[in-house]
């Protein structure tokens, strides 16, 4: 059975389309990523799937249940970690966990094995109020609370936004362990580097899904020729590249990336020549393989 099926799901707010006929499926035990910027419609998708928001059009099922008719069953079998910290700030770590266990008719002991790895890091602070925890710790507690009733599907809405790269890496390690326990995970993030950690990703922009693919296939399907270039003055480099016909250039780490339109003949020598003709000698140019970020930029252009 599919963990999630969204079928042409749509939502409007005051005549403005937030989610526009979105369709996708999440397999059991899969980590499925919704990748896109703020305002793309990710949170509305999450809220419809967790039965907190009624769709205007389209249908969706979670664990085989309909999001409109079977909301009670869905709420009992999914865990949801909203983008905003949503625990009780004036309850302690332990009290929060106890509370969520009780609400779902279970106990901390019953499903402790699911949260053990994460909870041991929180245990030294179990008597601290949730509001006094650091960002990384809050995030770990929220994940524990979303897991304590042993959900079949986990919904994580931007769990790593504003979190530093080290804590972000640790968080993704935790998600991979949960996947091993056959929990299906729908996760959203604005960080492109996290996309490669998902089994499949949907790129979302303006309420629409631009593409759905495994990260590797997304890269394989990138059809443009792509070069990287480097020069002593990055500002000038990007300015000069703007006038290289048939290409789009953008900053990429220490390099500029040059994406060549289909059918346009281009090679290293041509680019070097263009740079030299515009006063940038001793530049470095090479052909390079696309990353997920290049794919996304290409879809946005």
């Amino acid at each position: 059975m599919k963990a999630v099926i969204a079928n042409s799901l749509s939502k409007e707010y005051d005549g403005r389309t937030a989610v526009d006929k979105v369709s996708f499926e999440v397999d059991e035990g899969e980590i499925f990523g919704l990748i896109g910027p703020d305002g793309a419609g990710k949170t509305s998708i999450f809220r419809m799937l967790t039965t907190l928001l009624l769709p205007d059009n389209g249908t969706a099922q979670v664990c085989g249940w309909d999001v409109v008719k079977d909301w009670e069953s869905i709420r009992n079998s999914v865990g949801y970690m909203p983008g905003k910290f949503s625990l009780y700030q004036d309850l302690t770590v332990e009290e929060n966990l106890q509370f969520f266990a009780t609400v779902f008719n279970t106990s901390i002991q019953e499903n402790y094995h699911l949260i053990e790895d994460i909870y041991v890091q929180l245990e030294p602070f179990k008597n601290r109020r949730a509001g006094k925890l650091s960002g990384g710790m809050k995030q770990k507690l929220a994940l524990c609370c979303a897991l304590i009733h042993k959900p079949k599907v986990l919904f994580l809405d931007e769990p790593t936004t504003g979190v530093d790269p080290v804590s972000r890496k640790e968080f993704w390690e935790m998600l991979k362990k949960l996947k091993m326990q056959n929990i299906s995970i729908l996760v959203s993030t604005p960080y492109m580097d996290e996309a490669s950690q998902c089994d499949r990703i949907a790129l979302v922009q303006n309420g629409q899904i631009l593409s759905i693919d495994a990260p590797k296939d997304l890269i394989r399907n990138y059809q443009n020729q792509l070069f990287k270039a480097k020069a002593y003055d990055r500002y000038l480099l990007l300015e000069v590249l703007k006038s290289l016909e048939g290409t789009k250039s953008y900053a990429f780490g220490e390099y500029a990336h040059i994406s060549v339109e289909k059918g346009k003949p281009m090679d290293k020598a041509l680019i070097l020549h263009h740079l030299e003709a515009n006063g940038l000698s001793q530049a470095e140019v090479d052909e390079v393989e696309a990353t997920i970020e290049d794919c996304f930029i290409n879809l946005l252009h």
Binding site: G36, P37, G136, F252, G253
Partner: protein, 246 residues
């Protein structure tokens, strides 16, 4: 010789027993894009508040745009720009009203404000939305407008505190093009970010761990020093040593 616009010397801030910023020493040159990195809780915000004249240090010295962070905080505030994701524009004012408001705050004359308004609206492609409330603009446009307003008074230095969170990769790059342009025109850029590819865009960067600066160099030299291929790995190697969090 390169002109120095920020000079910090053993700059320290304590809150009770807790040393938030521990004797940091560094210089930033004119027109440089300086990245200020560190894990959550490493002490970046505290350091930045001292440099902006918003918090008096416990010990150490610093000069920003030539002004002393103990005695000349008002002069510092007049000579810097500041933008963060949390605070930037007034959402219930229009594009043009925001420009006029901040222009006034920074002491520009009416004529200067008028000229700047036209220039900004045109350059950022905001002509069709000039009378729209900022709350209705896409996040990427807001950020570009916000940055342009932060440098409307031609400050010596602009401080950017995680300016690009949550926008798409294309908008993020357009934003960085504005940063390059500002730096090219001699404005020094001091920026914090959690995006490691943006760290690569900086001329030099420092990485703070537990209140101290543990590394300071160009992205290229840092990668060589730590024998890795990306800034992400440099950051990971350093920040993993941290013993404290936020």
């Amino acid at each position: 010789m390169e002109e120095i616009v920020i000079q910090a010397d053993k700059l320290t801030k304590k809150f009770g027993d807790f040393i938030a910023t521990n004797a940091i020493t560094f210089q930033v040159h004119k027109g440089e894009i300086f990245g200020f990195l560190g894990a959550n809780g490493a002490g970046k915000t505290t350091a930045m508040r001292m440099l902006c004249g918003l918090s008096i240090p416990s010990s150490g010295d610093a000069k920003v745009a030539g002004f002393d962070v103990y005695k000349e905080t008002e002069s510092i505030k007049k000579n810097i720009g500041y933008m963060s994701q949390k605070f930037s524009l007034y959402e219930d004012l229009t594009v043009v009203e925001n420009i006029r408001f901040f222009g006034g705050i920074y002491g520009l004359s009416d004529n200067e404000i008028k000229a700047k308004t036209e220039e900004l609206v045109k350059r950022l492609g905001l002509t069709s939305v000039r009378k729209k409330l900022v709350v209705d603009l896409p996040l990427g446009w807001k950020q570009k407008l916000s940055f342009s307003i932060a440098i409307i008074h031609q400050p010596r230095i602009v401080f950017l505190d995680e300016p690009t969170g949550g926008v798409d990769p294309l908008t993020r790059r357009q934003f960085w093009e504005l940063i390059y342009e500002a730096a090219h025109n001699g404005i020094t850029v001091f920026v914090t970010t959690h995006y490691m590819d943006e760290a690569e865009y900086c001329d030099r960067l420092s990485i703070m761990v537990d209140g101290m600066i543990k590394a300071l160099d160009s992205p290229k030299n840092l990668k060589e020093q730590f024998q890795v291929t990306s800034m992400d790995q440099v950051f990971y190697k350093l920040a993993r040593q941290a013993t404290r969090s936020e």
